[in-house]
Amino acid sequence: MAAAVRLVLLVLLLLGPGVWGQAEPPRDSLREELVITPLPSGDVAATFQFRTRWDSELQREGVSHYRLFPKALGQLISKYSLRELHLSLTQGFWRTRYWGTPFLQAPSGAELWAWFQDSVTDVDESWKELSNVLSGIFCASLNFIDSTNTVTPTASFKPLGLANGTDHSFLRYAVLPREVVCTENLTPWKKLLPCSSKAGLSVLLKADRLFHTSYHSQAVHIRPVCRNARCTSVSWELRQTLSVVFDAFITGQGKKDWSLFRMFSRTLTEPCPLASESRVYVDITSSGQDNETLEVYPPPLTTYQDVILGTRKTYAVYDLLDAAVVSTSRSLNVQLKWKRPPENGYIHYQPAQDRMQPHLLEMLIQLPANSITKVSIQFERALLKWTEYTPDPNHGFYVSPSVLSALVPSVVAAKPGDWEESPLFNSLFPVSDGSSYFVRLYTEPLLVSLPTPDFSMPYNVVCLTCTVVAVCYGSFYNLLTRTFQIEEPRKGGLVKRLANLIRRARGVPPL
């Protein structure tokens, strides 16, 4: 119960007049960005990225003051001494064959990987606590992450941010393919945004539309980055990304037209006043190439051309100062080609231990151009312990998706630009030079149906065993305690008397 109480103020002898007059530049900044890409299949992909950069040392002890950076995640970093944290929650599967290469793909379900600082002594314990806390923050079942589905990759999943020394014992990786992503996961994710969902691009994040899509993937990436060009000190970067693929072709009754309002049932009205940059990019590459014409409305004031994922692309750029209501767009085609000669491979295999750790197979292969590579793994079906079955065992058991991390040679060489200045969707993965770009793809999770026992079996076995024991015991007991002797038949039983009665009635002599 809140009650208005007239506070009797104590006369506190507060020291000093307070030095609150200085106007120091804000040490944190927010950039937000939406990329809308018409996909070859006629669908439309929308990728949101919100990037909060904080020039602060989060690892220090004591008082902590947050402005744009969310307090919950900041506390997490300092408490568990995290170096990097990557969490993605995905519903659906990115169909590379139809949709082209994604900016950022994630496996179906939940994926969590984290790098801990060298100072962490018990990484497994921190990992467990971290997954539990994250499951509370994001309302996801990350608490089911334990040693049975956690691996420590040795070649893949290098730190994405600033790192000196990569001792893989501080890395943990886990996937929960079963996790279902829904509104309850989106709401806490939105709360982490400085403008919540009240202004700026986040206005478009309306749950009932975002989950009415073919693909929904939301992610949180935290990593340390360089504060300045000379990298003398470290800043923390939080990227919240959200990718959705709208089935515009079907919902648009055969037309490939789309508008922000039709996709999100909202329009952008005002920029987030806290953001230093707030932009919408629309892929209009195909307008210049083919005969296909497309028209974007309102006409963009500026365009942006760059080599994205190996191809040259043109984007219409809308700075959010003009309220942009975009109307028409057409498709474009993205192709991948591998043209580099094969190199020596690397194979790392870590066999599973039952109920302790899963299998881990990592291969570094150079793929020849226009070839098909198959990796097949033989496995046996085994019976689990009866308490290990899930409540719906006939649904089957998930095998986590495989990961393909590739450095693909670029078709067009990109000019090495300033990393800090380039748009966010192009700067998540560190790339050494412009001749190649980095792609990480995930396969679908595999659903294996295991032999399911009859779950009333234990009770049946108990009853059957007891009955067998009781029957054996009964005859044994009878044999030992009874005395057996031959007895002369006496007067005869009920049947005999009845027979005699009938015989007498018939006039036949009795038995």
């Binding site: 208005a4 109480v5 506070l7 103020l9 402005r67 506390q75 300092s78 202004a199």
Partner: protein
Amino acid sequence: MAAAGPAATDLEVVRGKRAALFFATVVIVLGLPLWWKTTETYRAPLPYSEISGLNSLKLRLMVPVTVVFTQESVPLDDQEKLPFTVVHEREIPLKYKLKIKCRFQKAYRRALDHEEAALSLGNIQEAETMLAEPSEQAEGSLTVYVISERSSLLPQDMMSYIGPKRMAVVRGIMHREAFNIIGRRIIQVAQAMSLTEDVLAAALADHLPEDKWSSDKRRPLKSSLGYEITFSLLNPDPKSHDVHWDIEGAVRRHVQPFLSALSVAGNFSVDSQILYYAVLGVNPRFDSASSSYYLAAHSLPHVINPVESRLGSSAASLYPVLNFLLYVPELAHSPLYIQDKDGAPVATNAFHSPRWGGIMVYNVDPKAYNGSQLPVSVEVDMVRVMEVFLAQLRLLFGIAQPQLPPKCLFFGPKSEGIMTWELDRLLWARSVENLATATTTLTSLAQLLGKISNIVIKDDVASEVYRAVAAVQKAAEELSSGHLASAFAASQEAVTSSERAFFDPSLLHLLYFPDDQKFAIYIPLFLPMAVPILLSLFKIFLETRKSWKKPEKID
């Protein structure tokens, strides 16, 4: 042949009887205990009698008071009697099973030379610093100096003085009954500085039956090992207001001194955040007379809930969180004032919610809008804000305004915002509260375990229970001998251990394995085995009785 037949049959019958008896013996002597032992739930022994003894615990809180007499404070012949000790004991009437007695143990002695010198100074503050120098006093103890009736140390109309440390000054009297009169004055002062009924009633508020003033008593936070304090600046309208607050400096200057003084009572962590587009849950009403907006007292309870979802739970620790919100109203709703029950605006423009925190509304100076375009840059006056938040913090920790005896000189706390004896009073209250909580937890655990026989009691749970019981007893002992610091530590240990035992997950392992299912599994085995044995035993019993009745006939 005819003779051998019945003899052989008799032999067979006897053998059958023996076999049946043997079966019965094996089952009873070997089978039953084996079954019992293998299916038994493990229950470590617990100190049930001691736990029930805790319920009728009698707490005796001792406050050691040193009373120092200067020359000319009492008549000469009275001075000859010094030093000696007087005990003043009083039961505190509370409707609670814990019986609490307050015991002021007054050790009278004469002043030492340096004390004499200090008290002959003309200024009470100087005297105090001189007296405080030699040594720190133990927690919970008090020193009362009795000065001469005509001393100029205090203003002439003042009878006593209460200092910020554990020290007070009382005027003496030249009278035949000097010790009695002075003794009463000392008790008055000592009670104001240590234990009063109010303090204890507030500490036990959760355990006492409801009454008319209990909601006021339930304002302070419950005792805990630590507390998290979060300052949040709510800016619902960042388009119009660009609000800056120097929270880092304000915490360092105003909050940290207070918390470091309080650090005996628990661990504190402070953090802050700024939340944009966070609005209150109530639409303020417009008052055309003053052309301002107001929040009525009855709508304040609805203000907090929508904001709370944005505040974010604390991920890093399990301690209770105290929230202090500074709300800068949006341009469309400013200026915004909070009204009390009578409709008058609250002077501080702030209110607090018991056990949750406080909210202060900070209106932007209307002059700032003139001439400049939006957003208006706003610098928050942190001194004004922190005064309110610190006062709320004191209330939420249960540090009430002291009730002074009449004609008492009192300056209020120093820069850290809390007086040493207020801290002692907090420790007394927290110790008693911890003891009551631990006792309740232990009693309900013992009751629960007694009622449900399926619960497994592991050895580590049992050892936690033993530790908790021992800690409660130790705390009670330390309280009665006046060692406040160690009593508080022991009471905290009692609460921690008792809760760890109560919430141990191993208690739940077999809880959902009910008896009917257990017997459904055993019956297919037990019934076919038991029926033949019982029947043959019954038959043997009948035959033996028959043979006892006619013994001669067998011969």
